[in-house]
Symmetry: C2
Subunit: 234 residues, 2 copies
């Protein structure tokens, strides 16, 4: 059984704040202190804020916005109206290269962390060093999908947990070798966390308790990034 616990009561953050401490203290204050083996999911927005990845942007200046999106992209895949679908330096394909005007002050825009694996590892290391707890960390963001409507949260950085779990060589319940082999557990954990975080409430983190111990290993979001050469739809 998994429990998905919202971490509430984290106030507006500033550049340089230590997220590990804010999350550990908020979790303890709501009587769900972090324990070994937990997976902590943290939204990109709050990570970008503490890392200073917030820039000026006049929301009404479309050209300025497009220039910013292009500077955050290595390749533009599609444009329609205000929407740009592009590939970021990390290899993510998403709307507007992750440049986001919601939940930041007017005239400002949040950019994706430069290396969200590193962001996750920093939080994980700080939770171990300062709070004596061994947890996995996922940095999540909200992406659209082709073919399906609605947005889901996915992992953009991981530490201490697999991005993808490979079931190759295991057998199904009837003893046949499995055809379907690789499960994107970090994306599924990010999606589960989103269900308790919502979009309009101030819940920038969630704890997932009961994660399969076999998934707790050094991981990287690179496990989740399909290379352009391997992609049939780019």
């Amino acid at each position: 059984m998994l429990s998905v616990i919202p971490v509430e009561g984290i106030a507006e953050v500033r550049e340089g704040d230590e997220l590990a401490t804010l999350i550990a203290e908020a979790a303890a204050a709501q009587d769900t202190p972090l324990i070994d083996g937990d997976c902590v999911v943290v939204t990109q927005k709050i990570v970008s804020k503490v890392e200073g990845r917030v820039v000026d942007l006049d929301p009404d200046d479309r050209e300025e916005r497009e220039r910013l999106v292009e500077s955050e992209s290595v390749r533009v895949l599609r444009r329609r109206g205000d929407l740009i679908i592009s590939e970021t330096r990390h290899g993510f394909v998403c709307a507007n290269a992750g440049v986001d005007l919601s939940n930041v002050n007017h005239g400002r825009a949040a950019l994706l962390p430069i290396d969200a694996d590193r962001s996750a590892r920093h939080i994980r290391d700080a939770l171990r060093a300062r709070h004596g707890v061994g947890v996995a960390v996922i940095v999540s963001d909200t992406f659209g999908r082709p073919w399906r409507l609605g947005l889901t949260d996915v992992a953009i950085g991981v530490a201490g947990i697999a991005g993808v779990v490979d079931l190759r060589g295991t057998h199904d319940a009837l003893g046949r070798e499995l055809q379907v082999t690789e499960v994107a557990v970090a994306d599924e954990l990010a999606a589960a966390a989103e269900l308790v975080m919502g979009k309009s409430r101030s819940v920038p983190a969630a704890i997932i308790r009961g994660v399969d111990r076999e998934w707790l290993r050094e991981g990287s979001v690179r496990e989740l990034v399909r290379s352009p050469a391997d992609d049939l739809f780019r």
Copy 2:
């Protein structure tokens, strides 16, 4: 807080079995009886089996397999080696039109339910009529994604729950109207359920407890299906 509870102990099913009863009894037997407001996630495979959506297929006959996939498709989008990415009658874009050889007997293949909203509604109605409990039901399947590696579970049918929750008009924590508005909660619930169901264990259903009551309304998987005209990548 959400709890994601695997429903264990459901034996191999046959065509005509009543899934509602199997799930309700298995949940009660493990001391987690269904309660009003639960969301029950059921895998496509077990739904297809009780609905008789299983056909003969020689796994070594590639031509026969391709003919079957094409007969389950309205449009083939890409081919690479053994892999066909196509659009099904339901509007889903997935590998091999959902035709699946795992967890069925050798020489057999499971097809997608003809109408998995109806499948979900049947389970929901039977749980209410026979077991007196009001739950939402999601039928899930495991799909790949372009751009990202690894598979995640998504909803292919829903009953008593929204496919997509529209946050348009609500405001973010700073009072700005939200840019990001539509969350695919049924897909996120399916993904959360997959985390406790695994692929090789005999866990064909999960209970998600604590779902936001505002999401419990008549829904349809059509909310999640992007029309080809609206799709930039088809």
